[in-house]
Amino acid sequence: MVTTIDEPKIRPEWLLGGAVTLLGAIIIVVVTMVLGAGEDEPVVAPADATELTANTCAADLRQPHWVPDDVLKAVAECPAEISAGMGRTTAEDHLGTWITYTLDGAENAETFRGRPGAGWPEEEVRGGAFHPASAIVYVAYPGSEELSGKLSGDTVTVEWQDLTESGLEARVTRVDNNGFGPVRVEWTDDVGSYLLLATIGRTPTANAGPSVAELIRIADSVAAEDE
């Protein structure tokens, strides 16, 4: 008896199905890679705040080494830019250098819609729904030995606070409107004088801007790590 064993045959439809499956897998991988490449890398706060102004005109300036985690970017303006932006010739040698740190997060984002007026429902305005973006402004005046003129007013409080890390002392001026309002922190060191300004803002859901303690910590970080 002769037994015939058929050799297994690769049927054409199997080949076709395999090719289609392989092609589909390749397409999925390629599309995923292309889409993934288009996504932004998550922005994280740098370990040292001076990295935010690297490669700008303020790179060599004495500036904060620490900022709150909400700060992800900064814009530096040096005297030449400030003078030009004003549209009026100004001597640059006594102008300060400004760094504006913007704060991330919904409560810190600008919420204006169109121009002020009838399109702004009064109840929403009253509740603080229309507000600017939160920012911390830092100004350095190299070579200066003085602070700005002392502010006064019934709602103004002025006190001196120790900057424990740097061993300096800062003048903290608040316009205290029920816990909200502008805060100025000013101090001098052996290189110049400095100012930090931010507003503790009232929004419908939360406070906007940094706390006073955070501003003090920012100020303390300016000199502490440069010495």
Binding site: G87, H94, T100, V125, R126, A133, Y141, N178, G181
Partner: protein, 176 residues
Amino acid sequence: MPTTRTWLQAGGGTVVLALIVAAVVQAANSSATWVSNDPVGECGRTSGGQVVAAQNVLSAATGLETVDGTWDSQSEAATRAFQAYNGLPVDGCVDTSTWVTMRALAISLCDPDYSCQGPDHRIRYAAPGGARDAYLAENDCDWGSYVLPGVARSPVASNKVIALSRDAVTEIKCGG
């Protein structure tokens, strides 16, 4: 009997003392203009230099687009938003506490040791389309508003420093 030299010394001393007192009083008045201004809005002045100053600050703080020295509903809405964000009573009136809050936002452009000429203070707000700025000038006699082109509307000129405490929109002239 005092000699002529004594009289001259006494007279000279008196003149020096008077100059010092005048300087101190003027400096005090200069900084006080921000805390003792008249109310602006429906509660007070509706035109003039103080309206220009308030509108100038509001242009930076809220995006108010027109600074013309005449109070209107847009100015009032902008004031209300400014007051709400800063924790002030929301009434649309630029009163003393609102003036003080605005003043605290102004940062000297020049180092505090040095007296710049012209616009020497700035209020800056970060904004999605770029920062919004308002410029001010602290002079011996008064503060002034320097309004940027594109925001200033007649009779406010963008290249002049407008006196804050004048009833009309006029360029600042100290000693005049």
